[in-house]
Symmetry: C2
Subunit: 534 residues, 2 copies
């Protein structure tokens, strides 16, 4: 008897006939997305909300390149900024990437490290300044504010990577749901759940959850560094805004932590296990879906690969192309494979491209990854692509370039599902060997398929979970009971330092009193002995 399937049916039926749930008319959702690759998954969530009958309004800037004004799934509210936000500029990431690669090439030296961070921080500071300008632009526009108030939204859905929505939600007095992995300056868990640095790797530390003593020292360094970046680079601008618009009874940190539900784009088959909170719902891989048939020409190309199969390469939404010296090494490496290669590449055509390699401006990534002929995925390590490769069980050759991509690839590498390369040291031979290793060593595919099985084995699929909890917040007008209010405590109380100080004072006072008493008694005794002797 197939017990498992039976119990799934039971589960399904119990959900299907769940009585006593309050019914609701279509809700109204106000969305503040982050542009660029983050928009890719927010847009999927919006599609889900739309097809469930909810009315979605997206606040975008006039200069946004990714977030279109017209969509069948949402109504857009467009705000015009004096200058476009950096991440909205199509060439911003290419310029930024070249700079970062150039610095990494000189890697290892403390100077390069400082320069690397300087570049990162300048860019971070710039983006957050622009985001805070957007907040001012919204708050100071009475027509827009009236429109937002009168919209009578049920919930604000936002990506707190740029926390515009956080401030607006507070202004409008609306409950808030995050679609999140990164907040202003780090991984979202760090501000909401206690995260012991002994086994929770800090963002940027490039550590796993098993650290040697030296690695733990390095991890704490990154932990403190992130706190400083947050404290001195990210927050001041927002704190000023909060003080100006909401007075001194709150601060930005409290607003940021005040979300009712955190839809965390993470899954513990990928993320290292770490403390979490009751209002964090894991929706990692919610964008994944079974593959669909390929367009005829691509299907023909893939089919023609025979028993060798195909290798896919894409570097995500932001990076259209790598510097030409890296590109030609990759092309040379690919040319020596018996596999066919489909490569999303928007830059100049490499002169040494092999006959087996098809350059495309866009590829149906999910459908290709789900194709039985696909043998490996050469990827940069953006979360969207990573989860698609996990979903379809395709092992990865990683060329991380920016931001969290290094850490994402590390997570797959630790689980034996990816081989990671350093883009700045890449040559055709090392690239070829890496791809061949992933193709021919069975453990890569086996590990990835194990992750795939575990990822799919969840009582509620991540996309359904996301929808459920957004609707939950609408139904109950928040989810305060799942959220600790601990972050409203002063930091010394949160860490019980005041209690420790008090107890220490008590111990010292009592101890002091005892010592003084004993000393006094001894003195008396000595004096009596002395007087007796005299």
């Amino acid at each position: 008897m197939n017990v498992l399937k039976a119990s799934h049916c039971l589960l399904a039926l119990s959900v299907l006939f769940a009585t006593d749930l309050p019914s609701a008319l279509a809700g109204k959702v106000l969305v503040f997305p982050v542009d660029g690759s983050h928009w890719v998954n927010m847009n999927i969530l919006i599609g889900v909300l739309h097809s469930s009958g909810h009315e979605v309004t997206v606040v975008r800037t006039a200069s946004s390149w990714y977030i279109k004004e017209d969509s069948p799934h949402y109504t857009a509210i467009t705000v015009t900024l004096p200058e476009p936000i950096n991440i909205e500029k199509p060439d911003f990431f290419i310029t930024f990437l070249s700079k970062m690669l150039e610095i990494q090439k000189r890697g290892g030296s403390p100077l390069a490290f400082v320069e690397f961070y300087w570049q990162m921080l300048t860019s971070l500071y710039g983006m957050h300044r622009q985001a805070s300008q957007l907040v001012v632009e919204i708050f100071e526009n009475p027509v827009l504010m009236k429109q937002l108030y009168e919209g009578r939204y049920d919930v604000v859905l936002t990506d707190p990577g740029l926390p515009v929505g956080v401030l607006v939600a507070h202004k409008l007095g609306l409950p808030m749901v995050y679609n999140v992995r990164w907040i202003t300056s780090g991984e979202g868990h760090f501000v909401v759940a206690p995260s012991p640095p002994s086994y929770v790797p800090a963002a940027g530390s490039l550590m796993s959850n098993r650290m040697s003593f030296g690695e733990r020292v390095k991890n704490i360094f990154h932990y403190v560094l992130n706190m400083c970046i947050d404290q001195f680079i990210v927050r001041p601008e927002y704190d000023k805004l909060v003080a100006h618009y909401f007075g001194l009874e709150t601060d930005f940190y409290h607003l940021l932590q005040g979300a009712d539900i955190w839809l965390m784009r993470s899954d513990f088959i990928f993320e290292f296990p770490r403390p979490t909170m009751p209002n964090i719902i894991y929706i990692g891989g919610f964008q994944c879906k079974p593959s669909e048939p390929l367009p005829p020409d691509l299907e023909e190309f893939v089919k023609g690969s025979g028993e060798h199969g195909v290798v896919i390469m894409s570097l995500g939404t932001l990076v259209k192309a790598l510097p030409s010296e890296i590109t030609s090494e990759i092309a040379a490496g690919f040319a020596q494979l018996p596999q066919r290669v489909i490569w999303r590449h928007l830059g100049e055509r490499p002169h040494n491209l092999g006959n087996n390699t098809l350059l495309v401006k866009w590829l149906p990534q999910n459908d290709l990854l789900g194709h039985p002929k696909t043998r490996a995925f050469v990827a940069h390590g953006g979360t969207n692509g990573i989860y698609e490769s996990i979903y379809h069980g395709v092992p990865v050759v990683g060329i991380p370039l920016l931001f969290d991509q290094f850490e994402n690839m590390l997570r797959l590498q630790v689980r034996g599902a990816a081989k990671v390369l350093d883009a700045t040291k890449l040559d055709s031979q090392s690239f070829l060997e890496a791809v061949q290793e992933v193709l021919h060593q069975p453990s890569y595919r086996e590990n990835m398929q194990r992750l795939s099985r575990l990822h799919k084995d969840q009582p509620t699929q991540p996309q359904d979970s996301a929808l459920y909890w957004i609707e939950y917040v609408m139904r109950h007008k928040g989810a305060a009971h799942l959220r600790t209010e601990s972050y409203k405590m002063p930091w010394y109380s949160y860490h019980s330092l005041d209690v420790m100080a008090f107890l220490l004072a008590v111990v010292l006072t009592v101890g002091g009193a005892v010592i003084l008493t004993i000393r006094y008694l001894c003195l008396c005794l000595c004096r009596r002995k002395k007087s007796k002797l005299e």
Copy 2:
């Protein structure tokens, strides 16, 4: 359009047609329960496993009063102990309760506090010694051990309140699932998730999650007290066993924390929000179900209550009756109500019982709580009863007597869903007033019904969740990826104390070197000046 229902259907269908899940034949589950009231809910879980086609074996002692040898749901393995475990003796709790009530009556004084704890600790120590004897009895019985090995079980399901199953699972090398709220000496979360004492109330502290400075001092006192109890009273016996049977490469603490999945009998509509871990699954209230029609005589009695409705009273599995002086006060209080009362009472019939009160030896609690005529529930605050009252939205008058009952009632009181009385100070008037307050002040019922709505609004119902995750552990032979291995670190590494010490040493060394250099330079300068002057 009823969007919500539609999205539920979508959810249900997505679970129903969840493809790619490995199918499995019936699993074999080895259960080590805790006797008494804990058995009530473990037995429900066993029923669920049985009806899903799994084969369940329960290890019980010959003297067990609650865990029967014959059941249609499981096969029993019976172990004979030299003397029965305390909690198996039907009169143990009555004697224990009288003692505790007597001490509480003298309450307030430090002496009473010490005596209270002394009684608790003696009883705790006794139970754990008996449990460790049970482990020895199992390990030293080669026939039984052979039977257990040859049973080829897929998973050990155990209540770690008495950790017999924890040691046996390790011996058999099996994955482990807990049905848990309490572990050896405290609330289960405390050993698995970081629990800052600034907002997580320690067991026994009788605090909520919002504490004043003084309360936080008291909470830390209880926190440390619990650690000491665990360290010096509970663990030594088990540590000896672990050292003897498994050698020195592990200890009891590590085994206890090694469960793959913790099915936590808790729900955050009841429990204060606190940090949790990815392998903790919340199944609070999994025993609840819609009510069924009452037996005809009871239905007639209930119906006869007219518009006033009925009040139910029961003090749970363990406590059959209260001391007669308390009982007669309760009877006198009940007698003055216009409501009818159904009271589960096994002791002597109170002489002053009102005409409106029906004494019963057993009552269909769930069906009565779900009856539309039921207005209030007088309860001791055991978890089973509490969740049933939440499920059916019936407000509570609490008379907590022992163990976690005080804290359970506190949680309902904080949410405005219960009025709590002190059993040792109870008289007919105060009892009557409390019942009337709960009956007539609408907030009690409203708050309880709000909790009920929130409790039922979960994407997967708790019982289905429990079944799903037990099967998950069987399918994947554990769930190591959801579990941190942090507890295998030495405590000073876990708390980063070694890193702190190292960094402090670096700062002191560098600081010292700088100071010495400056001093040396100053000295040189002074000498030169001096020699110039000379």
